[in-house]
Symmetry: C2
Subunit: 202 residues, 2 copies
C-alpha cells in the first residue's frame, strides 16, 4: 500500500537561508518535491517562472483567492504569496513528499488544514549574522533590508509552535539536520504501519 | 543553558539487529551513550561485564527491585533485565543523550515515567528473514530460537504505540534512519528553545 505524501512546511526570517537549504535536501533525497508558490513580487535575478515561483499579477492572484484555489496565502513585505490546493493534493495523492517554503502566516493556515504536516523553522545563529547575510545578498535596497530585519524578531517568536527548529550556523550541519528531520518523519510509526502493517498483521 | 539529556528507547524482536544498530549510531554521533542494563542471563561469547550488561545473580537483581533501584525491569525469555534509575538520571542531568536497548515491557514502564522519551521500534523485513538471522547467530539452541520466534509476533504488534519504526532490511539504510531519528529529535523545537530561546528572546 502506498502512503500519502508528507507535507513539510519550512519557515524562516528572510536571510536565514531556507531557500538554499530546501534546494539542497531536494537534490539529496528521493521522492521529495518543492511546492512552487504563486507570488505577486518581481522575480530576482536568476529566478525562473514555474520553477522558483509562478509570478502573477495582483489581479490574477486576487481572483484565485476568490475562487478558493489557495491552501494558504499571505501578504509578506507588501507582496502576495500563495500555495495552490491543486499542487499539494496532486503530490500527496501520489505519495510524493512536498516541501513548502512559506512564511509563518501561511504556515499557520496549513497547520489547521493538514494535521499530519511537519513544521520546521530555520533560525539564523544571531540577529547580527542575519543582518550581515541580508546585506551581502545585494538584491534588496537598504529600506527593504531594514523592513526584513524589523519583521525578523516577530517571525522568530513564531518558532515556538513549530515542530522542529534548525539553527543555520554551519550550512553543512543545517543540511544534515534538515535531512534528518525529513528522513525521521518518514519513519514515524503511523506512516510506516500504513505500508508494512499488513505484512506483520499489526 | 544546557538541555536535559534525551532518552531514546529502542525495542525489537530478537534477531532484528537492534544491538548492532545501536552500537553503530553510538560510534557515529557525539554526546550519545548506551545505557548498560542489569541482567541475570549468562554472558554470550564476547560480551563484557559493565560494557554490554551488568551480569548479576537473580538474588541480587531481586534485591535491587525491592530497593526501587530500577527505572524499568522485566522478565524476558526466562531472564531478568533492568535499567537502574541512577544510570539514567546521571546522563540526563549532564545533558548526555542515552540509548536504551530494552524489550517492550520495560519500554512501556519508561513511557509512563519519562514523558519526553523517544520510542523507536526496529522491525525485521519479514518473519522468514528473522528466522534466518536467529539461525545464523549460532549462539542459541533450537529450543531458544523457537521461543524467540513465538514471542516475535506479539512483540511486533507492540510497535503500534512506538513513535518511530525502522525496518532493518538494508543495514546501512537502517543506520541512516536511526541516526536521522536521533538527530531530528535533537532539533525538536521544545529542546532547541531550551538552549537558544534566550538568545532570541523567544
Amino acid at each position: 500500500m502506498k502512503r500519502e505524501g508528507i507535507l513539510f512546511v519550512i519557515s524562516a526570517p528572510s536571510g536565514a537561508g531556507k531557500t538554499t537549504l530546501c534546494k539542497e535536501v531536494i537534490d539529496i533525497l528521493p521522492n521529495l518535491r518543492h511546492s512552487v508558490s504563486y507570488t505577486t513580487r518581481k522575480p530576482r535575478p536568476g529566478e525562473v517562472h514555474g520553477r522558483d515561483y509562478f509570478f502573477v499579477a495582483a489581479e490574477e492572484f486576487r481572483q484565485m483567492v476568490e475562487d478558493g484555489e489557495f491552501a494558504e496565502w499571505a501578504e509578506v513585505h507588501g507582496n502576495l504569496y500563495g500555495t495552490a490546493v491543486r499542487t499539494l493534493e496532486g503530490y500527496r495523492a501520489n505519495g510524493v513528499d512536498v516541501i513548502l517554503d512559506i512564511d509563518c502566516q501561511g504556515a499557520r493556515q496549513l497547520k489547521e488544514r493538514y494535521r499530519g504536516g511537519v513544521f520546521i523553522f530555520i533560525l539564523p545563529p544571531s540577529f547580527a549574522e542575519l543582518h550581515r547575510r541580508l546585506d551581502s545578498r545585494n538584491s534588496d535596497s537598504a529600506e527593504v533590508i531594514q523592513r526584513r530585519l524589523d519583521n525578523a524578531a516577530g517571525e522568530i517568536r513564531e518558532s515556538r509552535w513549530y515542530d522542529f527548529i534548525i539553527v543555520n550556523d554551519l550550512f553543512t550541519k543545517a543540511v544534515e539536520e534538515l535531512k534528518a528531520v525529513l528522513v525521521a518523519e518518514r519513519c514515524r510509526a503511523s506512516r510506516v504501519l500504513e505500508t508494512v502493517g499488513e505484512l506483520f498483521e499489526i
